[in-house]
């Protein structure tokens, strides 16, 4: 005879224990949460061989004591991880810390679902709102989103949703214009979406105002907060309902792999959806739609991400300061037409960004003892030159890495028009404000003097200086032999 009560009782007691533990974390500062997350000493001692670091549960599935436990677990009546497409202990630990950091200082209860990439986080977050009304199948759906978004997001919206599914992307061209946002909303709009600061255009808008607007129409506001990270901006505390993160970027400066997350507040606003979905969106997403759609993260990546996140705040501080310094240098440079960085007073959105982008807990930091603005480590420069000269400057970098990447501890540059934003075409680039002479820079933790030297040298090609391409050695520093000798 089936009797799962034993397990349900234990689950009830466990739930109280964890609730009390989470409550105790409310007193902790950001760095403490980033370092420890939800992995307590008790969690280590009782369940994880006492390991001080969260173990990598590189295992597809969980074994159960008996049929009763399995029944209760698969019915989601007790804590479980069952199968790694749905849940996994290592991934729970990552989700726990991300939920705490995004909710930090807001008093909000938050939850998180990790995904295999930032793009799958966006897909996971928006898809539940784009369901067809069974009573009115012919109604065309739409969503309102900023055009200044990452190129991959642009494609997901323009091709996968708009073109292939007939779900209209209503484009907000000037995201600071509240009237423009409002003019695009109608009864078939399902959500508002914005990326800020945007990559690479650094668009920024007033989250509380857009959130109020969304809520006035009973819609959720979804924010891609990848560039800021919770160390500098926490959109949920400003009224957003859902945050998506490409955890791959500044949350994981080491660049070990690809990883994403959706973080939500409790009781999100939405015109559609069942009560369970609205009550705890990220948990519902994790246990149901993502179980069925399968964009799960690898446990290995979860733990590598966790280890990176522990030092998030100090890294964002250092890299923001480096970027500020370098942006100021470039602004004075004779070959630079324009520098875009939210930290520069010349930036039209500087004042707005300064109202919201602060280094978390700087007022409790013995270095600062007051709230200090930090603007992240993404910036761009437009050179006074042709697209061909832009490429030449780019090719001249020796310290700064040429890659389609950002958020790294290493400085990285790319030309968006030929890389990240290539797929959307000339027209799409015009909409998103991506000129061909724009170089995107994401400044790392190197000493800024060395990065400046590299930039100055590369820009000297505009003085007619030729930077010779040096032949590489035939054996690597790591001891690898080169294919060159085989020729």
């Amino acid at each position: 005879m089936s009797d799962i009560r034993h397990y349900l009782d234990a689950a009830g007691r466990a739930s109280l224990w964890h609730k009390e533990f989470l409550g105790s974390l409310k007193k902790c500062r950001f760095d403490t949460l980033a370092v420890h997350g939800i992995y307590s000493m008790q969690e280590a001692l009782d369940f994880n061989q006492g390991s001080i670091i969260e173990p990598i549960y590189m295992s597809t599935s969980q074994a159960y004591r008996d049929a009763d436990e399995m029944e209760a677990a698969l019915g989601y009546q007790i804590p479980t991880w069952c199968y790694s497409r749905i849940a996994n202990p290592s991934i729970y630990y990552l989700e726990g810390v991300l939920a705490l950091l995004e909710g930090y200082g807001s008093g909000l209860e938050t939850s998180c679902v990790a995904t295999s990439s930032g793009m799958s986080a966006i897909q996971s977050a928006i898809d539940p709102f784009l369901v067809i009304d069974p009573h009115n199948r012919s109604v065309p759906l739409n969503f309102v989103a900023t055009t200044q978004v990452y190129g991959g997001t642009f494609q997901q919206f323009a091709i996968r949703k708009n073109q292939e599914r007939g779900i209209e992307w209503r484009k907000v061209l000037h995201s600071t214009d509240l009237n423009e946002w409002e003019s695009l909303i109608d009864e078939n709009t399902r959500f508002l979406y914005g990326e800020l600061p945007s990559n690479p255009g650094l668009a920024f808008f007033d989250i509380p105002l857009v959130a109020d607007l969304a809520h006035k129409y009973n819609l959720p506001l979804i924010i891609d907060s990848t560039i800021a990270t919770p160390a500098l901006l926490r959109p949920l505390s400003l009224g957003a309902d859902i945050v998506v993160q490409s955890v791959t970027k500044s949350l994981c400066t080491s660049g070990f792999g690809v990883c994403g997350a959706v973080i939500s507040r409790k009781d999100i606003v939405s015109s559609i959806g069942i009560p369970e979905m609205k009550a705890d969106f990220a948990t519902w997403l994790k246990l149901l739609p993502n179980r069925d759609n399968g964009p799960n993260l690898s446990p290995m990546n979860a733990i590598l991400a966790l280890n990176d996140i522990r030092t998030l705040r100090i890294k964002m501080d250092l890299m923001s300061r480096n970027t500020q310094h370098i942006a100021q240098f470039l602004e004075q440079h004779k070959h630079v037409e324009k520098v875009e960085y939210l930290g520069l007073e010349s930036h039209p959105l500087h004042e707005l960004a300064s109202r919201y982008m602060f280094l978390v807990d700087s007022e409790y930091d013995t270095c600062y003892r007051q709230k200090v603005n930090r603007y992240g480590h993404l910036m761009s420069l437009s050179i006074k030159g042709t697209p061909a000269q832009t490429r030449e400057v780019f090719n001249g970098f020796q310290r700064i890495w040429r890659a389609t990447d950002l958020g790294r501890i290493k400085s990285i540059a790319c030309i968006p028009a030929i890389s990240t934003h290539q797929q959307q075409g000339e027209e799409g680039r015009k909409l998103a404000g991506i000129p061909p002479n724009l170089i995107r820079l994401c400044i790392g933790a190197e000493h800024p003097d060395d990065v400046i030297r590299d930039l100055d040298r590369a820009l000297s090609v505009l003085d007619g200086v030729h930077i010779p391409v040096k032949n590489g050695p035939e054996f690597s520093a790591g001891g690898a032999s080169s294919a060159k000798l085989a020729e």
Binding site: A44, F47, S51, I52, Y57, S59, S61, Q62, P89
Partner: protein, 394 residues
């Protein structure tokens, strides 16, 4: 678990009493483990209570690998190390004091040869080499009152000497000395030295046990007293610990060990048979061939001959290098015991420093070629060899 079959143990042993309910052992990539309280910390450190303290000498993932290897080799315990060489070093360091001696077959891997030859001297100890290890009398003669253990690698790399383990074990027993067997080439899937009378087994798990050339590792399997002695007094201060990730990779390797060894043996036999019949081959050294002088020892102590072999090409040093360069599937590298077939030319690489005269004394000719046969398709391996032989004609 000890009564279970080999394949069952290779997949399941070592996880009893393990709290996590995961299908696969988690990777505890963690160096330290908190204690419930000060009392517990003291008890664990005194060895009165099982528990983990610090990753240099204990780690939960590594512990599962150690227990699984002990179950497979039928020993009381096991201690993992960073490499096969560090396993042999830890054992030697634990067993031998200054002024004492080790008796070893001289047909051992070059690294082991160096450790005994030079390393023991630096420890104020020495090795007595048995240069004719086929002879039991030679072993007996090498033993002195200062001898601490007998060491034999069987089959040996690269000479493929095979020891009569029961006979050697009987000798060791009569002298009250432990017999240490390096079981790297056969693995416990093909040879169980303990059931043949040996006392301690060492491995480079880097080879067939891991099976895919991803992770270095070594292990000493033996009586609890020795293994735990190495843990408390050796690895703790000397430090060559196995990484948890490598232990996990080795655990994954063990799951398919006997399947792979079966295929290694099958392919090696096919290649050896092909080579033996080939007109450009002078001789083939593979114990699985009936022509091999050690062939009679195989049946009583080995389930198979593994996949290490060598042959002498009927030709020059240059012919040998041309042959190796012509191979397309078989990789030219200094490794053995992995899924991919590997070829080595000792005269131009591993033994080149010896010079031709010394090399010939050691039984290595300029046209000798060593293989570690992998688990690719048998036909493709023979096809690769065939086309390399044909390339010599042009």
């Amino acid at each position: 678990m000890s009564t279970r079959g080999f394949d069952t143990k290779a997949i399941h042993a070592g996880t009893s009493g393990f709290t996590p309910d995961a299908m696969c052992v988690p990777i505890y990539q963690s160096v330290a483990y908190p204690y419930q309280d000060a009392q517990e910390a003291a008890e664990i450190f005194r060895g009165e209570k099982p528990g983990f303290t610090y990753g240099r000498w204990d780690n939960p993932t590594v512990a599962v690998f150690e227990k699984r290897m002990a179950a497979l080799e039928n020993t009381e315990g096991a201690i993992a190390a960073a490499s096969g060489m560090s396993a042999i070093f830890l054992l030697t360091h634990h067993m031998v004091q200054p002024g004492e001696e080790v008796v070893s077959s001289n047909r051992v891997y070059g690294g082991t040869f160096g450790l005994f030859d030079v390393g023991l001297k630096r420890m104020g100890a020495k090795v007595n080499w048995v240069t004719n290890p086929e002879s039991l009398e030679a072993w007996e003669k090498a033993i002195t009152p200062k001898t601490k253990f007998l060491f034999v690698e069987t089959p040996s790399n690269p000479a493929l000497f095979i020891a009569d383990i029961p006979a050697l074990a009987a000798l060791a027993k009569s002298k009250k000395l432990p017999l240490v067997v390096d079981n790297t080439i056969t693995t416990p899937a093909l040879q169980l030295p303990i059931s043949l009378g040996a006392d301690i087994v060492v491995h480079s798990t880097t080879k067939y046990i891991c099976g895919n050339a991803t992770s270095l590792g070594g292990i000493v399997c033996g009586p609890r007293e020795i293994v735990e002695g190495i843990r408390q007094n050796g690895i703790r201060y000397l430090g060559p610990a196995m990484a948890p990730f490598n232990a996990w990779m080795n655990l994954i390797g063990l799951e398919t060990l006997s399947l792979r060894m079966d295929r290694h043996c099958h392919n090696a036999m096919a290649v050896a048979t092909f080579l033996e019949k080939h007109p450009r081959v002078k001789y083939v050294n593979y114990p699985g061939l009936e022509s091999n002088p050690y062939h009679k020892l195989i049946k009583p102590q080995m389930k198979g001959c593994s996949s290490l072999m060598s042959f002498e090409l009927d030709g020059t040093y240059q012919d040998a290098t041309r042959f190796i360069d012509a191979l397309q599937i078989i990789i030219h590298a200094t490794h053995l015991g992995t899924c991919k077939s590997i070829v080595t030319h000792p005269a131009s690489t591993t033994h080149s420093a010896m010079g031709e005269v010394e090399m010939r004394k050691a039984g290595i000719s300029p046209s000798m070629i060593r293989f570690s046969i992998g688990i690719e398709d048998e036909k493709d391996l023979i096809g690769d060899l065939d086309q390399a032989f044909n390339a010599l004609k042009s």
